[in-house]
């Protein structure tokens, strides 16, 4: 799994960015009482949040699957979350 210079996995960073964007979208949509606000909330915000949560859970799914090179990598990622790649 690729990591940044601080040893933080790229997928987790991307997950966090997607979640922040999704939450900001959802917060913004709540300021507007209009059908379009609901669509923005549901389609844009929901997609960003869903993608963010799934991307965060992805390494955990890898960890629980059968052992291969990817699993070892995922285990290593979760065992030492702040280590260098």
């Amino acid at each position: 799994m690729r990591r940044d210079k601080n040893g933080f996995p790229h997928t987790l960073r991307l997950s966090g960015v997607l979640l922040v964007m999704g939450l900001c979208t959802e917060a913004g949509s709540l300021f507007w009482v209009h059908p379009i606000a609901f669509i923005v909330f549901f389609v844009v915000g929901g997609a960003l949040l869903g993608a963010g949560v799934l991307l965060f859970l992805y390494p955990l799914v890898l960890l629980s699957s059968s052992p291969d090179s990817h699993d070892s990598e995922a285990r290593e990622t979760l065992r030492r979350p702040n280590s260098q790649a």
Partner: protein
């Protein structure tokens, strides 16, 4: 006591702050406590905020102002203020026989099991037709108005169950006789004659 919306904004703010904190300081996730915090910030709180926000949007979609926020609904909104109480929607709205801030939803929802979900799906169809299709001109209901929505409030009321309505109750309940299109209460959202009437202005 803060409103549910305010509490939701607080939760959204806390979630964003936690996420930004973890993104800026990944070393927080080295301890077990930090990993639990990450799980809460990346999974639990976003799902909570998403579900809560969806519920909030569902609730506000019942508001009269929500329905009237589309230009095509503007004359229907004006018909609620007609200064002539033979108009059924105006009489109900102006006398608060229905909640004034949920006037459209109260009469146009579906008082059956899962009816509210069906109404929301109809609403999504409205949005699709409005922005990606061609709206009907003039607009009309997808299905004939069901007496069930009237009887939801009126059935059992002393003023309703009189010598006029009681003999035809079976026909009303089975929709063989329509409340609004059988000649009894047929002045509803009559847009053609809307300009002939004064508009009622509620006092502040």
């Amino acid at each position: 006591m803060p409103s549910p919306l305010t509490i939701l904004y607080i939760f959204l703010g806390i979630t964003i702050v936690l996420l930004v904190l973890i993104l800026l300081r990944p070393s927080l996730t080295m301890s077990i406590g930090g990993r639990i915090l990450a799980l809460v910030a990346f999974v639990a709180l976003p799902i909570l905020c998403g579900v809560w926000g969806l519920s909030e949007h569902f609730e506000r979609s019942k508001q009269t102002s929500f329905c009237l926020s589309c230009h095509i609904m503007e004359p229907y909104g004006r018909s609620l203020f007609v200064d002539d109480l033979t108009h059924i929607p105006a009489a109900h709205f102006q006398n608060h026989r229905i909640p004034a801030d949920e006037a459209c939803y109260t009469c146009h929802t579906d008082y059956a099991m899962y009816g509210a979900i069906g109404v929301k799906l109809h609403g999504l169809r409205h949005v699709y037709v409005q922005y990606l299709g061609t709206p009907m001109n003039p607009i009309h209901l997808y299905d004939p108005f069901n007496n069930r929505e009237c009887l939801h409030c009126h059935a059992g009321a002393r003023s309703f169950e009189n010598e006029i309505h009681t003999p035809m109750m079976d026909q009303l309940k089975s929709n063989q006789l329509s409340c609004i299109s059988s000649g009894c209460h047929d002045t509803v959202h009559n847009l053609d004659t809307l300009n002939k009437f004064k508009q009622w202005r509620p006092t502040e």
